[in-house]
């Protein structure tokens, strides 16, 4: 889900940059610093929409640098467990496929659940592979690169620089869309 969110960012500015063009430095630094980053708390910060307040520069004693706490408004993208999203398949392999949902990559496993205890290994064999596409056993839809799919996010993993998610298409109204 995309959100518009007010965020803040702290910039340290060296005294050598103080002067008439200071605001420009700050702005471009803010853009360069935050756009395209990802944090667990806010998700992906995709673009800064507007700068609300560049902040009052507080000169730090000792170093002489000025600290600006900048408030800005940005488009962020954060996936949630249980959210249904559309995505574009980007890669299909023997385990399932990866779909791009904006900056997020979602893996959808084609694991089919047989009745329990059949075998641990059989699911690998029972699936049909048609070149780089695969038939999901539950629905006769061919999934290949650039197929559009509707999927549900079942889990996310967040680390410092990216979010990764696991999805499923094995529910009603999910799967290939046109």
């Amino acid at each position: 889900m995309f959100f518009i969110k007010e965020l803040s960012h702290t910039i340290l500015l060296h005294p050598s940059y103080f002067g008439p063009r200071m605001l420009q430095y700050l702005e471009s630094k803010l853009y360069a610093d935050v756009e395209g980053t990802c944090s667990g708390q806010f998700g992906y910060i995709i673009a800064v929409v507007s700068i609300l307040d560049i902040g009052k520069g507080m000169v730090l004693s000792g170093s002489g640098q000025a600290e600006f706490i900048t408030r800005y408004r940005a488009i962020v993208f954060k996936p949630f467990k249980g959210e249904v999203v559309d995505g574009v398949v980007n890669n299909v392999n023997k385990m399932g496929f990866f779909a791009d949902v904006g900056p997020l990559t979602v893996f959808v496993s084609h694991q089919v659940r047989h009745s329990p205890l059949v075998s641990i290994t059989s699911f690998r064999i029972t699936n049909l592979f048609l070149g780089p596409s695969l038939l999901t056993a539950s629905s006769p839809q061919i999934i290949e690169k650039n197929t559009k799919v509707r999927l549900k996010i079942v889990g996310t993993r967040v680390d410092a620089t990216e979010i990764f998610a696991i999805g499923t298409i094995k529910e009603d109204h999910l799967g290939v869309i046109d």
Binding site: M1, F2, F3, I4, K5, Y31, A32, E35, G36, T37, C38, Q41, F42, Y44, I45, I46, A47, V49, I75, F77, K78, F80, K81, G82, E83, V84, V85, D86, G87, V88, D100, V101, G102, P103, K148, R150, K152, I153, E171, D172, H173, L174
Partner: protein
């Protein structure tokens, strides 16, 4: 016996199907994909060359359901008539454009609170808007 095992703290699960988005996002303003597209395309600044930005732009171009700001805001206006809808649900309906109330409740489980008929009316309107947008 030697080390005490502490129960692990349970983090509260985020679960979009129950509208639990975590402290930061429970009341945040949601954007429709169409709105994101508009915002990104009409940026006055130079587009940053980041993978995140580029992929997002590609994504919103692919999945934007409403091409003009007018139609997007019309959709918002329509959905505002149903007061029970949260920001998140509004955006999900507009992004996914489910055809009928059954599908809507399946992909957005929190919609169970909305009456089927009223939901259906809304969805029909949105479908119409989508079909006839210029």
């Amino acid at each position: 016996m030697t080390t005490r095992l502490k129960p692990r703290s349970q983090v509260e699960d985020e679960d979009a199907s129950a509208l639990k988005l975590g402290a930061e996002f429970n009341n945040a303003g949601c954007l429709l994909i169409s709105e994101v597209k508009y915002l990104l395309e009409n940026r006055d600044k130079e587009a940053p060359d980041t993978a995140v930005y580029n992929k997002t732009l590609e994504y919103v171009k692919t999945f934007a359901k409403f091409n003009t700001t007018d139609s997007a805001s019309a959709v918002r206006e329509t959905l505002r008539r149903e007061p029970a809808l949260t920001q998140f649900e509004t955006a999900q309906i507009a992004n996914l454009c489910p055809a009928d109330s059954d599908e809507a409740k399946s992909v957005i489980p929190s919609l169970v609170k909305v009456d089927d008929d009223r939901l259906q009316t809304l969805l029909d309107e949105i479908q119409t808007m989508r079909r006839f947008q210029s």
